[in-house]
Symmetry: C3
Subunit: 201 residues, 3 copies
């Protein structure tokens, strides 16, 4: 139940982030919906392909589809000024989505009896795959791989779940809180992963 | 029979559009063929993956592959000036392709007993997916999502077929004519979908 | 045995090329690993999808994954100056990878009893698919389709294997040497495929 709530918060946050980027790029209404949907569901589709689940599972997620549809529509009719004011809230929602999606991805990979490296990749793909496709379709360099510490927390959840495949719901909840917290700390302190180790040359 | 003709006209139009964009971007001969093929077949491959059909169905479409090959080769050996003169004709061919591909995509989704939202997505993916991949591989922002009313007519065909799954061939033909007509009207009057609803802020 | 060596040399070369491009684009450490992996394994995943093999075969290639991981790590800790000095060696490694990957792709397609055009596409996808995804994720126009004669040699191996499906290991070895040699000649003489045939217009 509480999982579902986090999951739908994440879906809404991802849909809004796709829709907002499409509006910044002056895509038309149709483009706004496309980018919103792709950001929300793209990561799960790629993950399913890579871990051997049918991509057509997508169509069973009826409530998720309507949640995304509603979030995109609200984004379109909300004044830009308000959207900017909500930016901090959106960062929290996005962190919740990153965490919920990553954990869900890892659990799917565990179900498929895949090794730990596959579980970690499944986490990351579910957590950031949609954002990557969004950036590519918007013609931008993927900031997720560049700007701040984002994907690493997603991979961390896959790593923990990969080590403890018999994880309980309570433990999962702690992993969830951990990823959200680490992500919010990264944003607040503007943490960055190092670039290449620099030498004099 | 008449379906096949529309379908092959669409294949040729999509292949030509990919090849022309590759030439504008000064891709080499190999790149021209790659972009032509990707534009023609990319949408169908993505649709198959998403509606649970094997992507390897691609290889059975022998005549389609040779049609695309021929269209690309003709594009390469035709003087640029002529290609420019044919531009209006190409717009019509492209509209025929959009319509034929979209209807074909919707019918595949109906065969897979998918719900109406999946049928609409299958239409759009088949109709515009190849063009999206073309734009990404050419390093351009996807104009399909930006410039003029294009994908919406594709989705309209999916919507109609999704509502009337027992559609007859004659009705399908009317849907086909409807999409082609709406697309040509959009081009002629340079219709645009609205961007974000603008507020003072 | 010798195949395996060529294959791992190719894996290392592709991983290094992805990691180096990520560093040029100032991606963070995580982005460097992502781009390295995508360059190495992306082509094989797309090929598997298109020829009807499960994409999840990826996870069985344990040694390949560790090889890529090691190559990326070495790239990160090696001074840039040295990497530049090794550039000529990397071109050779990359040619070995192109050849080994292309042949492997063709053999998979032969196993799937696909027709010759599918075998040629499988060769090219395995040989250059990872590089294409790398360029797209790095926000660059794909040079593979533009700059010099690269993908054609990959396709040549698919063509030869498609014609002689009962090919022996010795013959395969000659195909391998042929592709590596042709690629190195292309680099040395800076061969280019023609662009569009130009007319006065």
């Amino acid at each position: 139940m509480i999982w579902d709530i986090f999951n739908y918060i994440g879906i809404a946050a991802f849909a809004i982030s796709g829709a907002m980027m499409a509006m910044e790029e002056t895509y038309d209404l149709f483009g706004v919906y496309v980018l919103g949907f792709v950001t929300t569901f793209g990561g799960g589709v790629i993950r399913n392909i890579l871990i051997g689940l049918p991509a057509s599972m997508l169509w069973e997620q009826k409530i998720a589809i309507y949640t995304a549809l509603t979030a995109i529509t609200i984004t379109i009719i909300t004044p830009m000024l308000w959207l900017r004011m909500w930016k901090r809230l959106l960062v929290l929602f996005d962190a919740i989505g990153l965490s919920a999606f990553s954990i869900q991805g890892a659990l799917f990979a565990v179900d498929q009896r895949l090794p730990i490296h596959a579980i970690m990749v499944a986490s990351v793909l579910t957590g950031i795959g949609g954002g990557l496709i969004r950036d590519v379709l918007a013609g931008r360099k993927p900031l997720l791989l560049k700007e701040d510490v984002y994907a690493v927390w997603s991979m961390l959840s896959g790593f923990i779940i990969g080590l403890h495949k018999e994880i309980t719901d309570v433990e999962l909840f702690f992993v969830f809180i951990l990823v959200v917290t680490m992500r919010m700390i990264s944003v607040h302190y503007q943490l960055k992963l190092p670039l290449k180790i620099v030498w004099h040359n």
